[in-house]
């Protein structure tokens, strides 16, 4: 179908740089998710791909054709908006038929067949005569998808399409979308700020912050090997714990991360050569709440005291105060802890992350 290539794409609004020098290649049939906090430039990137906005700098290629100055209607795209943007004065039928009416030499019966086929696929066949205002959010969503698919686009664009649905429906639609995309094989760019949605849907996730592409990779990739502090902190809930002011020490052939003379965690030997291009002082240690154990006492580990217990049913989040920080740790609800109890956090050596505090880039 179609590949998309962004080359140093930049988009400015007056002085605001919404998208800053983004380069990425999207493969044919791939499901890419643009993920990031509010205002990071996801929507702007998507609208620039759609041709609604024109790039301020850089280039957009679709199947190796440069598309910078081509209006949206020639880009063979379909798009679903956050608020669906259905035409309020048209019926559902008219809404879905609307894109088809731009096709030359298409007969009335062809349009009718096509609309009915799409309505069947999206299970809205009984709603064709209604106006958008007479539909529920989920139904509007299906109409919007049917409309986006009407012209058999080569590229599908979604801007937070599920955010207006209630939590339960969101999960259902998420599954349907994934299946739909897999069966149709259309190259898809999907914007969300919901990381669980990203993890569930994407072939690859592109994480944005302040208009800059932070990292692109498979969901596992960005979760287990974040390239910088932002990506590490953005993904996961509760988010990763950080401890600054740590450094690398070597002791009798074994390397440790330490702070204030206390050995916190051992560094696996396979990671040692990564320090060739990185400092060994002033490091930030990162570990996920699920990647550690709480023990009563140990030589190596982070000593602290229990500050708060959050019972969430399936698990308990233990808040531990150490080195003036609060660390969140997921523990078995069976385990017996008490407030103010002195404990040691035992980290899994091959699951910890280390960041250079100056560049915020990951050492490993």
């Amino acid at each position: 179908m179609a590949t998309i290539k962004l080359e140093n794409l930049t988009k400015k609004f007056n002085k605001v740089i919404a998208v800053n020098n983004v380069s990425l290649t999207i493969k044919d049939g791939e499901f890419i998710i643009l993920l990031g906090p509010s205002g990071c430039g996801k929507t702007t990137t998507l609208l620039t791909i759609a041709g609604i906005y024109r790039p301020t700098g850089g280039a957009i290629y679709m199947n190796d054709t440069i598309m910078n100055d081509i209006p949206p209607r020639y880009r063979k795209i379909g798009m679903v908006f956050q608020n669906y943007a259905l035409y309020p004065h048209m019926t559902v039928f008219e809404n879905i038929a609307f894109p088809l009416r731009t096709v030359k030499d298409i007969s009335k019966t062809d349009i009718k067949t096509k609309v009915e086929e799409l309505a069947d696929k999206m299970r809205i066949a009984s709603l064709l005569e209604r106006k958008p205002s007479e539909l529920s959010g989920g139904q509007q969503q299906r109409v919007a998808i049917a409309r986006a698919l009407a012209k058999e686009p080569q590229i599908l664009l979604f801007d937070e399409p599920l955010s207006n649905l209630d939590a339960k429906l969101r999960i259902i639609m998420r599954g349907e979308l994934k299946r739909l995309q897999e069966t149709l094989g259309i190259t898809t760019v999907y914007v969300t700020h919901d990381q669980s949605e990203a993890m569930a849907l994407a072939d690859r996730v592109a994480v944005f912050n302040h208009g800059i592409l932070q990292q692109i990779g498979s969901p596992e990739d960005i979760y287990y090997s974040p390239r910088n502090i932002f990506v590490a902190g953005f993904l996961g809930s509760p988010s990763m714990n950080f401890l600054s002011g740590t450094r690398l020490i070597k002791n009798e052939g074994t390397a440790y991360i330490e702070k204030e003379g206390k050995k916190l965690v051992e560094v696996p030997s396979k990671n040692l050569d990564k320090f060739e291009n990185a400092p060994s002082e002033d490091l930030i240690l990162g570990f996920r709440p699920e990647d550690c154990k709480i023990v009563p006492n140990d030589e190596i580990g982070i000593p602290g005291k229990i500050y708060l217990l959050e019972h969430l049913g399936r698990e308990v989040v233990v808040n531990i105060e150490a080195f003036g920080n609060i660390f969140k740790v997921i523990a078995d609800p069976e385990s017996r802890f008490e407030k103010e109890q002195r404990v040691v956090l035992k980290l899994k050596p091959d699951r910890v992350h280390l960041f250079d505090s100056k560049t915020e880039a990951a050492v490993f």
């Binding site: 100055d69 081509i70 209006p71 020639y74 080569q154």
Partner: protein, 301 residues
């Protein structure tokens, strides 16, 4: 994937193409007339439509014109009394009263006061001819006779009063609408607090309502002064400035000079004052209406 022939770049000129009719009409009926009024006022143009430049002659003639002092006096009386009694005074009163009762009935009275404004001016003129009819058939004289007082002939004894009333009943509605909207926007909590503190209606009006709408009061006063100064339609219909110029005002005199006496050059000179007043009114207006940026809605295709 895209057929080459179909590729068309974004059209930068499109907004201006859409704006073209507007621009043409604005140029033709606003900008050009403003520009032409200037040179016209330096000519003695009459029905021959010849551009005979006479320098400052027209402007020198204004102070020498024997009716001008009377015109200026009339204009002052007309603007001052219509403004104070109606366009400001009645407007404030109506807005206070109509916002003190239920919205339904308040709205009804406000609509009633809008009626003169949407009535064609000649019909509205007829109503005032009847109200001040010097014979026993006029409304004023009916009321006077009920009260046991003698009939009045306002057309001869006090024609300016008639003009002030006729203009005032139209003019009050603008202030009334602006003030009512402003009063309705005042948070109800202020009044609740005042009531608990024991304030009566007059105290609340003086201490809360009027101070909070003072900018609207100021704007309407200034704007209505200027717009009354340039208006003459109802005077033209009801008295046409008569009897013998007793209700003639600057704007009407300008009109008559041009279209009854066909002295276009002199008329242009007289109207220059009105143009200046008009520009000031326009500036005042935009100063009071917030203009939001719209570029957020733009589509770059």
């Amino acid at each position: 994937m895209v057929e080459k022939t179909k590729l068309r770049p974004f059209n930068k000129a499109l907004p201006w193409i859409l704006l073209l009719p507007l621009v043409i009409l604005v140029l033709m009926f606003y900008i050009l007339p403003i520009v032409i009024t200037m040179p016209l006022s330096f000519t003695s143009m009459g029905l021959s439509f010849k551009w005979l430049f006479v320098g400052l002659e027209n402007f020198r003639n204004i102070p020498r014109d024997p009716i001008i002092p009377q015109i200026i006096g009339n204009t002052f009386i007309y603007v001052f009394f219509t403004l104070i009694v109606f366009n400001f005074g009645m407007a404030v009163l109506l807005s206070l009263l109509t916002t003190s009762i239920s919205d339904r009935w308040g709205g009804f009275f406000r609509t009633l006061w809008m009626l003169p404004r949407i009535t064609p001016s000649v019909v509205y003129g007829l109503l005032w001819l009847w109200i001040f009819d010097p014979s026993k058939n006029g409304l004023l004289n009916i009321i006077l006779s009920v009260l046991g007082m003698p009939s009045q002939d306002m057309f001869h004894h006090n024609p300016m009063l008639l003009i002030v009333f006729a203009n005032g009943f139209v003019g009050a509605s603008m202030g009334m609408m602006v003030f009512s909207a402003a009063i309705k926007a005042i948070p109800i909590e202020y009044y609740r607090a005042a009531m608990v503190d024991g304030a009566g209606w007059f105290t609340m009006v003086r201490k809360i309502t009027l101070p909070l709408i003072r900018w609207h009061l100021l704007f309407i006063t200034a704007y209505e002064t200027l717009s009354l100064f340039t208006s003459y339609q109802y005077i033209l219909i009801i008295t046409n400035g008569g009897p013998v110029n007793r209700t003639n005002v600057w704007a009407l005199y300008t009109y008559q000079t041009a279209f009854s006496d066909f002295k276009f050059g002199y008329g242009a000179a007289l109207s220059l004052v009105l143009v200046v007043v008009g520009v000031i009114a326009g500036l005042l207006y935009i100063h009071n209406i917030h203009v939001e940026s719209t570029s957020g809605n733009a589509l770059e295709i």
